[in-house]
Point group: C2
Chain length 743, copies 2
């Protein structure tokens, strides 16, 4: 009995032990001891969600968006602009496919318009003041779009009003070198210069001429530059093709800086201090008017004087002469002047950004910003509505996922529909000035899709080197339009590629070295890892500077859907690629920003700088060693950080480790900012990507300083070269220290 009892107790003990073991190890205890937030904080990007996103981007929606956006002209602050504001707000507040929140944000900004009551006028007047010829006031209508009363007359925004009159000369592209050359044989004092688009910025064509005494400037688009030589609207140009009709005129902002010009480095609110208007520089000092090549033909082919240099000749079937100054003696215009009557006026008006957000679940204080401007010059089907259509399709698909409770990004997403970009990237620049510190400290990346489809051949992407990787990754997952079995990436590499020491043959990304669209304030002023994405041309098929209807009354839904992207498949490819990038930036546990790719670009720039400058710098006793050490230092720290990332298991580690590494990657570009490096270039602080006039593929401040001393020969200008070397070396060292072991 005792034995039996003992056996019973023993059995019970064994069974109890088994029970304890089962209870302890066999049953998951996650609900009680693992905090509820654990799963969320270590979650990585979900590839199935990306697949779902890609499958839900619809050409039909993209087409419908574009149709809505282009119903009427929507120049900044016009009634049509207000209509697009309302349209964006309605879409982003939609209860089933909208965002978490959306609102309008206004800035009071300095704009320039022609006078609808007194249209700008360009005439040829003989010595008795008789008008022999009058340039067309508006573009020729082919459809109702061109007849819309809100089509703004072609004008040069920010060119002053005035009534200059003088003998005509042909000044090619209006570059400084063009006027210098022309001035050697022609007395430019009191003349009107006709110039063509390209070569120099819009404002520069007037700013460069004024010192020689030029009193007014005409600007036109030469058929050679835009139409592959095609000129006739009876069969060749739009509406028969994508080419520019003879009366088409490129409008544009004739100002150099970006952002509101009256409120530098301050947000343009109602009560903000504004500098006196006479202190606004970097706009034309003399009246300017853009005209079509139909009119330019009449003027240029009547010019007297010597024949212009061969590389100044264009697409017209006549010799481009310099101008006597003035017209040929056997011309009907002999002895006549050209007269400009310009009635532009500047005014401060309220322009709206429309902002929309999706709140982040785990790191709401980290922002991925996606933006495009909303304002156009006329209907703006391609510029910017193709991009706005893409943005709206991305927000529709993502917004629906959020509203259905299927998804919430790890980080917050901010969408910006910027106002008044056409006047100088104003809406986006004011936004960055308004929230400078907040955006600096929290923004992971900025994605810009302005013109989504210049054409339908291939992807084009520009950005800081750290975003190359995520663009590649995303574009590999999207089918190229019209090629079901070819990815956007594989198609891209066929059109534009390079050999990277690290990656081998890869598509060639561009750099964001200028201020071509709203990425400017983000990359140059805030130092945020930015990118710009679009679909573009097959360069073997056209030499057009840009799509021919750019900034004209022909950039319409009809034009876009017939000649740029029939079927909206390129819009779709861009929406899928950009949306994929956006999701990856918002959802990845480890930010998909690659610092060794940055090292590669710095090494390229260094190599070029050494080749171009070192020998001469040595003769001046200026050493490039600190720059070499800095780049080597950056490479070493980038490699170390990448190894740390490779050897880490972030999902098993404290969430503060992922945050720490992500902060290192996110803030890398901030270390390249220097607010004192370019005192003459408003808003440019990024010492690697700032705008440069030297045209060399290397560090901009160094290249410009070197070019300056080469031309001036002033010993003091060598000091600037040395200064920029120090700025660069220390910025790169500072960036390397951001990548180094944090302490």
């Amino acid at each position: 009995m005792l034995k039996q009892a003992l056996l019973g107790v023993l059995c019970a003990a064994v069974v109890l032990s088994i029970g304890i073991l089962i209870g302890h190890f066999g049953i998951s205890k996650s609900s009680s001891s693992e905090p509820s937030w654990m799963k969320d904080v270590v979650k990585d990007v979900d590839e199935n969600l990306i697949k779902q996103f890609l499958s839900e981007v619809k050409t039909s929606e993209l087409e419908q968006n574009l149709r809505e956006l282009t119903k009427i002209p929507h120049m900044a602050t016009s009634p049509g602009d207000e209509q697009t504001v309302q349209f964006m707000l309605k879409r982003w507040k939609d209860p089933s496919s909208g965002l978490d929140d959306a609102w309008r944000q206004e800035y009071a900004v300095y704009l320039s318009f022609p006078d609808p009551e007194k249209p700008n006028k360009v005439t040829v007047v003989d010595p008795s003041d008789a008008e022999l010829y009058t340039v067309r006031e508006k573009e020729k209508p082919y459809y109702d779009d061109q007849r819309h009363p809100d089509v703004v007359q072609p004008y040069a925004a920010y060119a002053p009003a005035g009534h200059p009159r003088g003998k005509l000369v042909y000044a090619h592209q209006g570059k400084a070198a063009d006027y210098e050359l022309l001035n050697k044989t022609v007395d430019l004092r009191g003349t009107i210069a006709i110039t063509r688009y390209g070569g120099a910025g819009r404002a520069a064509k007037a700013i460069n001429g004024a010192p020689y005494g030029v009193v007014g400037v005409l600007v036109y688009t030469d058929p050679l530059d835009i139409n592959d030589g095609v000129m006739s609207d009876t069969s060749e140009t739009y509406p028969h093709s994508w080419y520019l009709p003879p009366s088409g005129v490129e409008r544009g902002s004739y100002s150099i800086p970006f952002g509101d010009m009256l409120t530098p480095y301050l947000a343009a609110k109602d009560d903000t201090y504004r500098i006196p208007r006479e202190n606004v520089t970097e706009i034309p000092p003399i009246p300017v008017q853009p005209i079509g090549f139909e009119d330019a033909y009449k003027l240029i082919c009547e010019l007297g004087g010597d024949a212009a240099p061969s590389d100044w000749q264009g697409g017209f079937n006549c010799t481009y002469n310099n101008g006597g100054p003035g017209f040929n003696t056997d011309s009907v215009f002999n002895n006549s002047d050209v007269k400009l009557d310009i009635y532009n006026h500047e005014t401060v008006k309220n322009s709206s950004n429309v902002m929309g957000i999706i709140r982040g679940s785990v790191e709401p204080d980290r922002y991925v910003i996606y933006g495009n401007h909303r304002d156009s010059w006329v209907h703006g089907a391609i510029d910017p509505s193709s991009g706005t259509s893409v943005m709206l399709e991305i927000t529709r698909v993502l917004g629906s996922m959020v509203k259905q409770g299927k998804w919430r990004p790890r980080r917050s997403i901010i969408f910006g529909s910027w106002g008044a970009e056409e006047f100088g990237l104003i809406g986006s620049a004011e936004y960055t000035e308004d929230y400078f510190t907040k955006l600096s400290e929290r923004t992971v990346s900025y994605i810009n899709v302005d013109i989504a489809t210049f054409a339908n051949a291939t992807l084009r992407a520009s950005g800081v080197p750290s975003v190359q990787n995520v663009i590649f990754q995303a574009s590999q997952q999207v089918s190229a339009p019209g090629h079901d079995s070819l990815s956007v990436y594989d198609n891209w590499i066929k059109y534009s590629n390079r050999t990277s020491p690290t990656h081998g043959l890869i598509p060639r990304m561009g750099y964001l070295t200028g201020a071509g669209s709203d990425y400017a304030a983000f990359v140059h002023y805030l130092g945020i890892a930015s990118m710009d994405i679009s679909y573009t041309y097959d360069r073997t098929k056209t030499n057009a500077r840009i799509y021919p209807a750019y900034h004209t009354a022909y950039d319409t839904f009809d034009y876009a859907s017939k000649y740029i992207d029939p079927g909206f498949v390129s819009h779709q490819a861009v929406a899928r690629t950009a949306g994929n990038i956006l999701i990856r930036l918002a959802d990845s546990l480890l930010l998909p920003l690659n610092c060794t790719d940055y090292a590669e670009s710095l090494e390229d720039y260094l190599k070029e700088a050494v080749t171009l400058y070192e020998a001469q710098l040595q003769t001046k006793g200026i050493s490039m060693e600190p720059l070499k050490w800095a780049v080597a230092n950056f490479r070493r720290e980038a490699k170390n950080l990448e190894e740390l990332i490779r050897s880490s298991h972030l999902a098993n580690d404290t969430p503060l480790k992922a945050r720490r590494i992500n902060d290192q990657l996110m803030l890398l570009d901030r270390a390249f900012l220097n607010p004192y490096a370019f005192p003459d270039q408003y808003g440019f602080r990024h010492v690697i990507w700032a705008s440069s006039s030297a045209g060399k593929p290397t560090f901009p401040g160094l290249a410009d300083a070197f070019a300056r001393v080469q031309s001036s020969g002033e010993p003091r200008d060598w000091e600037k070269v040395h200064y920029h070397l120090s700025v660069l070396s220390q910025a790169i060292d500072g960036a390397a220290s951001m990548l180094a072991e944090v302490i």
Copy 2:
């Protein structure tokens, strides 16, 4: 049998179930399902550790540190300085009480020294060039300390070499207003001005005089300003008391900007670009020499001309006359000139910071920085060695805890022993320029303890308003020296207090509005929440401008231990308070930075600005409403954030939530930076605390702009007032948006 068997199975099942229940609920599974890092990431500051720290801070160690540090003079870059570098490194690398790591970091900086071979000379010379009187070359020795060969001759660093000679005038404190007044009755052209310390910065005394034709400047310390009138060294002054002996001379830097003057906004490395020396401004344009009041007495009491205004009179038993210019006709110096022979020279020399770190365990990428300069003018017992002694005692106690494995802070701690502070805060400024972005992005707070003990009466603390709370908290836990039952806080409130709308009666903190010590680059250039801590005077007992031996050969261990802090109890109180603050900043789960206290200070400043300026601004059509809205906005967002903090259980929430709120608090001051607001004030970017000359307790840029237009009457100067209102409103709005819900 069946029944028995069934019973057995039933029993077994029950036992098994019990086992399972025990196994599942009874035994903690933390090791398997709760990640190992969980405990660390939610750990808060440990009050027991603070108690232990407080108990281990020893007066004997503080005394011994000071004795070691003051053995020989250690002016920047001197052999004595190198000796202190070695001493710091030895202590910080000590295997049982040192830090995780320590190293030296050198910058090549622009310094100014007298010539030991040709000492500066000040003489009275008669018309036949006979020397009637020669000013003492070195201070009178009482002990070996003063006889040490490395005691540098008194000089005005950065004042140029030269040999000016002229009639003497008395220009009071050398303020602009002083020269302006004096010039009304005395022709200042070609004169030597004698001025006294106080009222204006050192360099200003020469910069203000030169435009009137003054060719040389003498500077002395009036006994009224430093010695409560006491003058005789036979019984009254040191070595009989803390008062300045008659031959004592305050040395100092006669430069205005901080940081190395040849490398503005760049770290002064060997190859860094240096501006031409002739471009260095804001230093005296004419020779200057500081002298003792023993010599000043001889000169001033012989001056001719009218009696100087009553508020220009000083502690000498004679009437201070303006000077004829020159001496009294019945003086032995009648018709004589004063001649300066100044042989100062500038040179670029390597100066060392000594850096030491304790790595953070949870957030190594967050830094608490604690610093003090190491260089002195002579032995520098009080300035700066009292602070260095305190820093070494803090590192000894904390280092021992780290080496014993008892403690590792949540965040990283960086200790900086700065070089060349006396020449213009150079070591700390170069450090912030060298690691600008890294320090901006990661630094939680900067604690400066330079002169730890001006005197032994009460704590003195200055800082941005958000650090008030942690200073109060820490000082409540430390006993006041000599008062076992009274805290440092309760003692402090007796000496200096104010009534806060929120807190009632509290000690009065100062603001960091100038560049008095190494906090300058941290708060003004980087926008880091900074503080400066010391023990100081009972103002009912002395009117001395500063402790009398300041910058003289009498600031020795003997002086400090006898007359400033016998028993080293004030050193101990400062070490305990500052160390407590440091531990709280490094270890608290939620950063102890308080944003509603910031709101209170902004409201004070606003109230003052409205009182002083609003009526006149209204007459100019400039509205103060945007500033009022901004301050109200800041208050609202600060209150909301504080409520969010109160309602949060950070220890139970994702560690990313604490990090998010901490980032909001840490980065608050960054939003107040504007690199364009003060183009004429090097390194000043913080629009709330920048240096101001208007002397009003309100926003500095606004106050200075208003003062300027009041004096100039220029309509254009009203624009600057409006500009600064916009800068301020937008900075405060930007700061409010940092506190607002993150998205």
